[in-house]
């Protein structure tokens, strides 16, 4: 049996077993089963990946079961393993296994642990189904499966109204994207007569000049198909317009944010574009859209990220922004670079989230960075892990010597955008460069606010609660801090003296089960870029046809001018300098800056008002229309003039009609009888 069967189905089995055992056994049973299954999956995945890395393996498809056959539309359950899948396999199983382990510590006081672990394993299964899909419908299965798991995990603390709202929002906004995905599948089937990915990719070039009718317009076939599919990717990967669910998804437990909303699920859209890259290469307009949306998201999310106070929201917007990089890399044709950034990002972003979780754990569920400060000495291991993550995401490195993971992947993306040389790719390059500056700023801002300066813990309600009540109360786990933050527009960072600042609280370093994943991911954040850069960016043999490899673009990418190569490093240093000035040197700068930039600051702080816009554009009208249709349509019109009107006429009509109305059953039978008599009469005579 092919190992992929175990890699994919062990997590499913574990989820089912763990879920059914639930609370009938001590929670350690379900936890051990799910975590064990994930570590086995992970251990089996790395040899698969290394096989492709060394060039020993070839792409295979392992059939599982027939799925659907309807006329000429036929597809099966099957697991495809090639280089692209192998990359995703190690990302998913590694991060998932580590997150399972981490959750032993992080979720220790939660009464519902078996359910949590079962959901995590279920998610992993769905994600693996997505990346091993050999046809679009199975990809959609995984796509929706991860959506389900995401819904369940965001709403894991289901007593919290904000968590429930966030869960529904995530699912419904994703469904908007899925509408595009589904129409894309239908259109692809119509054009190619198949939903098998290899067959579509092979036939795509022959359709590159074709046109097709869509909603009454005549458009380029491949462009409309790719844009429809990309709308699906936008939903799942939280791109501008369909991004609103991702920050709210932080309502879920932090390990979930690390696994689903940073390392794996949100990258599914990038994976999809790369998987279908030969198809996208036949659709110039669609690629333009991908590039533009990616670049716009990249800069949008970075601007919002600079103003948020909730540590998880900063990282969430950072994720959104980094996904933008991946998309515009794919849009300009550097699919290898996109996948490389996906790969390195998985490590350093999971690390940052888990590190943030460790900080939150230490600070008794406080997530507002205004109440952090001076934690460097208190939780040193977490600090160093976060430092590794920050160095990686900001892209610290020295050209030709050594760099942290993000240094290689982000540089490659910017260089590719520059090398591509079209107007839209230059737009992406400049947006990417500015976003890199902002990335550096908000990342160091996070670090400085959290680990440097003086303690500002005393004012935190969570800390006060901890000091007074002494013990963690699982019931008030992760309350919504964001609501408090929303009303506070002064944004002065309080800086009382040290003794008063601690409020008598002593942060505690996290347990080993949380520190080990941080350590392993730190290694990834430091070395993943350096070790794998040649394979991912230059490795036509490594990719072995599993993505579209643009040989000329890669050559051009290496030959960009020096100032382009140094741009990322340069802007990173500026961002660092500004953050240092504002949050270490003179801590009054942020408040003054916010005041001076007033409207712009508020625009960024309120996330460009997308939530408000959508609320009044979609949610309010939907409920209003629903009520109108119900009260005025069904009750006020259809019933009034339909059945009730008939009743009225009958009632006012005559005594005879009243008799008719009192005996419904008899009258009904009578009419039938009359009908039958009439029928017989007609037929016979």
């Amino acid at each position: 049996m092919h190992p992929i069967l175990f890699i994919v189905f062990l997590p499913l089995l574990a989820a089912i077993v763990g879920g059914f055992i639930n609370k009938s056994a001590p929670s350690v049973v379900a936890k051990s089963i799910t975590t064990g299954a994930l570590f086995i999956s992970c251990a089996l995945s790395w040899p698969v990946f290394i096989g492709f890395w060394l060039g020993d393996s070839t792409a295979t498809v392992v059939p599982v079961l027939q799925w659907m056959q309807s006329g000429d539309l036929a597809f099966d359950w099957a697991l495809r393993v090639d280089t692209l899948t192998a990359v995703m396999l190690v990302v998913i199983t590694t991060v998932s296994a580590l997150v399972h382990l981490y959750s032993w510590g992080y979720m220790e006081e939660d009464p519902d642990q078996p359910r949590f672990f079962a959901y995590l394993s279920l998610f992993t299964f769905a994600m693996l189904m997505l990346v091993t899909a050999d046809n679009l419908v199975q990809m959609f299965f995984g796509w929706e499966g991860v959506g389900l798991a995401s819904y369940l995990l965001i709403g894991f603390w289901f007593k919290k109204p904000s968590a429930n709202a966030a869960a529904i929002k995530a699912f419904v906004v994703n469904r908007v994207g899925d509408l595009g995905f589904m129409l894309g599948i239908f259109g692809t089937f119509l054009v190619f007569g198949t939903v098998s990915i290899p067959e579509i990719l092979e036939a795509a070039p022959s359709m590159s000049g074709a046109t097709i009718g869509f909603l009454g317009y005549r458009v380029a076939t491949m462009d409309v198909l790719c844009i429809l599919l990309f709308i699906g990717a936008m939903g799942k990967s939280a791109q501008l317009g369909l991004h609103t669910w991702l920050p709210d998804a932080m309502e879920g437990p932090t390990p979930v944010s690390a696994l689903i909303h940073a390392a794996t699920m949100v990258t599914a859209g990038v994976f999809m574009v790369c998987r279908l890259s030969p198809m996208f290469e036949t659709a110039p307009v669609a690629l333009g859209v991908v590039t533009f949306i990616g670049a716009a998201t990249c800069i949008f999310a970075a601007t919002v990220g600079t103003t948020q106070w909730d540590i998880k929201r900063v990282i969430a917007y950072s994720t959104c922004s980094q996904l933008g990089y991946m998309f515009f890399a794919a849009g300009v044709g550097a699919y290898g670079a996109a996948m490389f950034h996906l790969f390195t990002h998985a490590f350093f972003k999971a690390l940052l989230f888990l590190g943030a979780g460790s900080v939150i754990h230490a600070m008794h569920h406080e997530q507002d960075m205004r109440y952090y400060g001076a934690l460097r000495k208190e939780i040193p291991l977490t600090f160093w892990a976060m430092m590794a993550g920050t160095l990686a995401i900001t892209g610290v490195g020295v050209l030709y010597v050594f760099g942290f993971a993000g240094f290689y992947s982000k540089d490659a993306i910017l260089e590719a955008a520059f090398a591509r040389g079209t107007e839209i790719s230059m737009f992406a390059f400049w947006m990417g460069a500015i976003a890199a500056l902002l990335t550096s700023f908000y990342s160091w801002r996070l670090m400085f606010l959290t680990f440097w300066g003086k303690p500002r813990w005393a004012d935190s309600e969570h800390i006060q609660h901890a000091v007074h009540h002494g013990h963690d109360d699982p019931e008030d786990h992760n309350p919504a801090v964001q609501e408090d933050a929303g009303h506070d527009v002064t944004h002065a960072v309080p800086s009382p003296n040290y003794e008063a600042g601690t409020g008598g609280y002593h942060p505690h370093e996290s347990p080993l089960s949380m520190l080990i994943p941080l350590g392993i991911l730190s290694i990834g954040a430091v070395f993943a870029g350096f070790v794998f850069k040649d394979a991912f960016i230059d490795g036509a043999d490594f990719w072995d046809g599993s993505i579209y490899f643009n040989e000329n673009l890669i050559h051009a990418l290496h030959n960009v001018p020096y100032w382009v190569k140094l741009t990322a490093t340069f802007v990173m240093l500026i961002g660092l300098a500004i953050a240092w000035l504002a949050y270490i040197k003179d801590t009054t700068i942020p408040a003054k800056g916010a005041e001076q930039l007033g409207p712009i600051y508020r625009f960024f702080y309120n996330k460009w008002y997308f939530d408000e816009l959508y609320h009044y554009l979609f949610i309010v009208p939907a409920f209003w229309l629903g009520r109108q249709f119900w009260k005025l349509g069904d009750v006020g019109t259809i019933d009034r003039f339909g059945p009730n009107g008939v009743a009225w006429v009958v009632e006012k009509g005559s005594v005879g009609a009243k008799k008719f109305q009192t005996g419904y059953l008899y009258s009904y039978a009578l009419v039938m009888l009359l009908g039958l008599v009439a029928a017989v009469t007609w037929v016979l005579f």
Partner: protein
């Protein structure tokens, strides 16, 4: 002559129904359960012996009665699947009524068993008038179930139910008589291949449409359904949503499409328009409901709109998808009504706000409810996805606009179902009495588990259900091919691009240019 299994399937519940009238409450329950289980066993036997790819009409029985009217039974794959749905849901309905019904139990069970006879009869009838009798008589037990064992406002509900169906059935009967007069036979298989003149088809189609659209129900003749559901006892709702709503779709497949293909093509725009309105309109109405049963009833209208749209796509995917939606919806909405019934039995209210936080005190229930909610949303891996996906894929070949509008149903469906689930199962336990409700008992577990299994089976391996229908639907497509509309996609293959979209000149070329 082979063993008359279909007649036996009719006879068993009929005899049991008569027996129930004379039995004590508990014996009536036992007899009804036994009879429905026996019919289920016969149904399984029927399925196992059905020769896939064999003759179109199997298990044929025929006895002439008078004037061309005959007792003729026989099934194809489509009828087989719908019969299976009926016999599968029936024992579950009996179980659902076990404790909930306490007055006139014998009569109640008799009504249900009679309904089973009539449902099987509708799908098995091969004579048009026999079909008509089963089709219309099937409403009488339902009408009684609502009127006698229903809620507070049951008279109004049964009145509406009666009024709507009356109009349609009269028109359909007249149309049938005209057809018999014209074709000279009441035999459905013969009529399937009889070509009515296009002018006649128009009127015949409209007459049948009046009946089927009400049964479906299509917008705007849907308003009887929410009231009927709200007032019906749980098991009544299950059968209403599970089987009775399938009569309209079955009617379209059996009569309108194959017998009047030209008229069907001519009126496809009407069906599409009503379906599009239904998807948006009823989904939005479902969003603002406070009553659980009303919400699910409105969602049924939206789902049935996918069925009608898929049927009039005139291609295999559309029709097979429509059939799968019917089967899937039969299971899932039936199960959702059972879920409502489970908590209604405990708290005696359908008001959504009276519940909340049920995941805490009823975790098993919450899991089942979640599964059926997700199936209703059409999550891949569940029955409804298969149907919706195929139906919409087929529809896309005909009209991208209609597909776009109908596919918005997946967004709105997610919104109203998750909003329902949130208010019932998530959140704090606001009401002390709801918080005290015990989790599923063994009887309820036995009701829900088989449906859950069937839902997943249909989602993961739908081939079991598609295979028996394949040949019949292919035949139907051939029959309709001459009238099939032209799609709006109109692919035109042009000259392919010479280079990939992100073509970059090779470095040495660029140097050469200098």
């Amino acid at each position: 002559m082979e063993f008359p299994i279909l007649s036996l399937m009719l006879a068993v519940p009929l005899v049991a129904a008569i027996a129930c009238l004379f039995l004590s409450a508990q014996s009536a329950r036992m007899v009804a359960l036994f009879a429905t289980l026996f019919d289920l066993a016969l149904g399984v036997l029927l399925w196992l012996n059905f020769d896939i790819g064999g003759a179109q009409w199997q298990f044929v029985e025929r006895a002439e009665i008078f004037a061309g009217f005959s007792y003729a039974l026989g099934i194809d794959g489509i009828a087989l699947m719908l019969i299976m749905l009926s016999v599968f849901l029936m024992p579950i309905c009996i179980l659902a009524s076990w404790d909930a019904i306490t007055k006139r139990v014998g009569e109640y069970m008799a009504a249900f068993l009679l309904m089973e006879v009539l449902m099987i009869g509708v799908f098995a009838a091969q004579d048009m008038f026999l079909f008509y009798i089963f089709f219309e008589a099937g409403l009488i037990p339902m009408y009684l179930i609502i009127g006698v064992w229903g809620g507070d406002n049951r008279i109004y509900a049964s009145y509406k139910f009666f009024l709507y169906t009356l109009l349609g059935s009269v028109l359909m009967l007249i149309a049938m008589m005209w057809m018999v007069n014209d074709a000279g036979t009441t035999d459905i298989p013969t009529l399937l291949n009889y070509d009515f003149s296009p002018q006649a088809q128009t009127w015949l189609w409209l007459a049948f449409f009046a009946s089927f659209a009400v049964k479906m129900p299509m917008w705007p003749v849907h308003t009887w359904l929410p009231d009927a559901h709200v007032q019906a006892p749980t098991a009544g709702s299950v059968i209403l949503a599970g089987v009775l709503l399938k009569l309209g779709g079955y009617g379209f497949i059996r009569f309108s499409l194959p017998m009047f293909p030209e008229a069907s093509a001519q009126f496809a725009w009407l069906v599409f328009a009503l379906s599009m309105v239904a998807v948006i309109y009823t989904s939005l109405v479902a969003l603002v409901q406070h009553d659980m049963k009303k919400l699910i009833a409105y969602s049924s209208v939206a789902h049935m709109a996918i069925v009608t749209a898929g049927l009039f796509a005139f291609n295999v995917q559309g029709i097979e998808g429509a059939m799968m939606v019917m089967l899937g919806h039969g299971l899932v909405s039936g199960a959702l009504f059972l879920c409502v019934g489970v908590i209604y039995d405990r708290l005696h209210t359908r008001e959504i706000d009276r519940y909340g936080g049920l995941s805490i005190n009823m975790p098993k229930y919450a899991l089942f409810f979640l599964l059926f909610t997700m199936a209703s949303i059409g999550l891949p891996g569940t029955s409804n996805f298969v149907g919706e996906f195929l139906a919409l894929a087929g529809l896309y070949k005909v009209s991208t606009l209609v597909t776009l509008v109908c596919t918005t149903g997946i967004i709105l469906g997610a919104a109203y179902m998750l909003y329902l689930y949130r208010r019932v199962a998530f959140g704090e336990q606001r009401n002390a009495d709801a918080a005290r409700m015990p989790d599923l008992n063994a009887r309820e577990w036995i009701m829900l588990a088989p449906i859950a299994a069937a839902t997943l089976w249909m989602g993961v391996y739908p081939e079991s259900f598609l295979a028996p229908m394949r040949q019949d639907i292919a035949a139907l497509e051939v029959r309709m091919a001459r009238a099939a509309p032209v799609g709006d996609s109109q692919l035109r293959v042009g000259e392919p691009m010479e280079r990939n979209a992100n073509f970059v000149a090779a470095a040495h070329d660029a140097e050469g240019a200098h």
